[in-house]
């Protein structure tokens, strides 16, 4: 079985393969490429990566299941990851999780019926001085209050911005125009 992704994905993976002394190192970038295109690590994603790297699918599977950022089942178009670790918790992280849960009315990892949202609690994201915080797809939202987060979610629903990794631009907050820059210092 041959799986085909977009031409862009095919070019990107070939570029990554050339970067490393050993092509096997390109498995992780290849999984990311497949995930961006397919939404999660599907059986097709595994087959595609295995074929591109030239190893057995089971070896790709082993890698994909070890790391939490490869989604083994679909997530919402916007996946909210609330930090639950100490520094955020001390600043009120619990209320952020509570607020997301209440607004979406779903369980963690469950996709909302309209496919828009899913959420989970995650461990420290390296924004401890600007907690509580969360990550929506690949963008950080810091110094949150429940009210602030609800406003952000409203805006996302309305504006439908691209918040995926490849859409991260040089200016922070580009994905959600006018969103204040994070200030860690």
């Amino acid at each position: 079985m041959t799986v085909k992704l977009s031409a862009q994905a095919e070019t990107k993976v070939e570029e990554y393969k050339k970067l490393y002394p050993n092509v096997r190192s390109a498995i992780m970038p290849a999984l990311y490429i497949a995930q961006e295109e397919l939404g999660s690590i599907t059986a097709d994603a595994i087959t595609w990566v295995a074929e591109k790297i030239g190893i057995a699918p089971v070896q790709v599977m082993e890698v994909a299941t070890f790391y939490t950022m490869y989604y083994k089942k679909p997530v919402g178009k916007y996946h909210v990851q609330v930090c639950r670790t100490l520094s955020c918790a001390l600043m009120g992280g619990r209320a952020i999780t509570e607020c997301v849960k209440k607004r979406l009315g779903t369980a963690p990892h469950e996709v909302s019926p309209d496919g828009q949202w899913s959420y989970e609690e995650v461990e420290c994201l390296g924004s401890c001085g600007t907690g509580p915080m969360c990550q929506i797809n690949d963008h950080f939202f810091e110094n949150l209050t429940p009210e602030k987060l609800l406003q952000i979610m409203d805006r996302i629903e309305k504006e439908q911005p691209d918040l995926r990794f490849s859409a991260v631009r040089d200016a922070l907050g580009e994905g959600l125009k006018g969103y204040p820059k994070s200030e860690v210092i």
Binding site: M69, S87, C128
Partner: protein, 440 residues
């Protein structure tokens, strides 16, 4: 306020520092040009003289580590910049990567030259999308100017540099797990010996793994000399250190401090003291993997390796993840938060760690819920003693030392909860952690 020399953060407030033009306008890439005309061994010698110790957590002397690379090896030598930064409470590497990516790259060039590496890699945690973007852009700028690639800066030295994204696994910060991950495998730490990747590292070749902050400090050291760096700080903890300050303080953020500075003064002056005029309960000065210091210990401590570990054998300057808790905080909740972290992040390879982590979490959880049993405190202590020293990597200590310190230093918090449970009266609790099951 204390005047601290700024070696690493000197330029982070300049808005164009992340561009090659901005970096070079402030003297960037002049040190590597000088270094390329030195003997590699002389570079290592300067680093040894500087007394620089690894900023990733263990504090191992940097120059000494480089000398473990076998002389005259016929295998390629590799350099890996550990930018995994997943230690709870730590966000200093992020600032360097985001705001001064070329400083990180120049530091890597210096190290690569000293150890003879022709391929170098930055392993950055997957969640750092923005820092990744900044560093990747910086690498592109360097290639465009022939600062990377073949014959860098017109010398006969070549160096390729790649940035590699992790995918959400704390354990990949451990250097051998990181290397496994970089090879395209599960991130599980390797059996020791060999104790150092310098002997067997990436693709079985000699490899130097250093933390981002360690590598960034090299630029100043090679510019001003190892002796000048050794003049800063204390005799055994030289130079400056970045602290990521978070928790109950008025001014959280990343600070650069000269080693040996009084901890309490740092807390009160630089960090603006405890929020809402409350009192200090404790500080975890080096991330979540080491013991908490009580307010009394904080008053005696200075910010250097010897002082902190001298007050408590299981405390450490670590990564400089400086987490502060006030006197309104229940240490049972703090302990539960960490126990959850370690139970979740164990790579599952060693039984004591995989199982022990979950037991510790379960027991602290029941104490927190008001269902604690007599003997639970001793049970936690005993499990922790059986985990540490019995695992492949230091995760076993990272999970047990802090837990043991919480019960040893704040027994009253735990005993009060257990007593309430025994007497059948669970008092109002201020939970820190969200419990999905309990909330249903």
């Amino acid at each position: 306020m204390g005047q601290h020399r700024q070696i690493l953060l000197k330029n982070v407030h300049c808005t164009d520092q992340h561009t090659i033009a901005g970096y070079e306008s402030r003297g960037g890439y002049s040190v590597i040009r000088k270094v390329l005309n030195m003997e590699p061994a002389k570079v290592t010698e300067e680093v040894i003289k500087s007394g620089l110790r690894g900023r990733g957590g263990a504090g191992f002397p940097t120059g000494k580590k480089w000398t473990f690379i076998p002389k005259g090896t016929d295998k390629p030598v590799y350099l890996v910049n550990n930018a995994d930064e997943s230690e709870p409470g730590t966000f200093k590497d992020r600032v360097l990567l985001e705001r001064d990516p070329h400083l990180c790259i120049e530091g890597m060039m210096i190290c690569a030259f000293a150890v003879g590496a022709r391929f170098a890699c930055i392993y950055i945690r997957g969640e750092y999308a923005y820092p990744y973007q900044r560093v990747r852009q910086a690498i592109r700028e360097c290639y465009a100017k022939d600062y990377l690639g073949k014959n860098i800066f017109g010398s006969n030295v070549s160096l390729d540099l790649v940035i590699h994204r992790g995918a959400g696994a704390y354990i990949c910060g451990e250097e051998t797990a990181l290397l496994e991950s970089l090879e395209g495998k599960k991130g599980q730490p390797r059996l020791k010996p060999p104790f150092f990747p310098a002997i067997r590292g990436l693709y079985d070749s000699p490899t130097v793994v250093n933390n981002t902050e360690t590598l960034a400090a090299l630029v100043w050291i090679l510019e001003n000399g190892g002796e000048a760096y050794a003049q800063i700080g204390t005799a055994k903890s030289t130079g400056t250190k970045l602290f990521s300050v978070s928790g109950h303080v008025n001014k959280p953020g990343v600070y650069e401090v000269e080693m040996g500075y009084p901890m309490m003064q740092f807390l009160e002056e630089e960090c603006g003291g405890i929020r809402e005029g409350r009192k200090l309960k404790g500080v975890m000065p080096g991330g979540s993997s080491f013991a908490i210091l009580t307010a009394e210990e904080v008053a005696k401590a200075t910010l250097d390796y010897e002082s902190i570990s001298g007050l408590d054998r299981t405390a450490h300057l670590g990564s400089g993840g400086f987490m502060v808790v006030d006197d309104h905080t229940d240490i049972v909740e703090v302990a539960l938060n960490f126990a959850h972290f370690y139970a979740h992040e164990s790579c599952g390879q060693c039984t004591p760690c995989r199982e022990g982590g979950h037991w510790v979490q379960k027991i602290i959880q029941r104490i927190a819920r008001g269902e604690g049993l007599a003997g639970d405190i001793e049970l936690i202590d005993s499990i922790c003693s059986q985990v540490q020293g019995h695992t492949i990597c230091a995760f076993g200590e990272a999970l047990s030392w802090p837990a043991q310190a919480f019960i040893r230093k704040f027994p009253a918090d735990f005993k009060a909860r257990i007593r309430e449970a025994m007497e059948g009266r669970v008092q109002h609790r201020v939970p820190l952690n969200y419990e999905f099951q309990a909330a249903h």
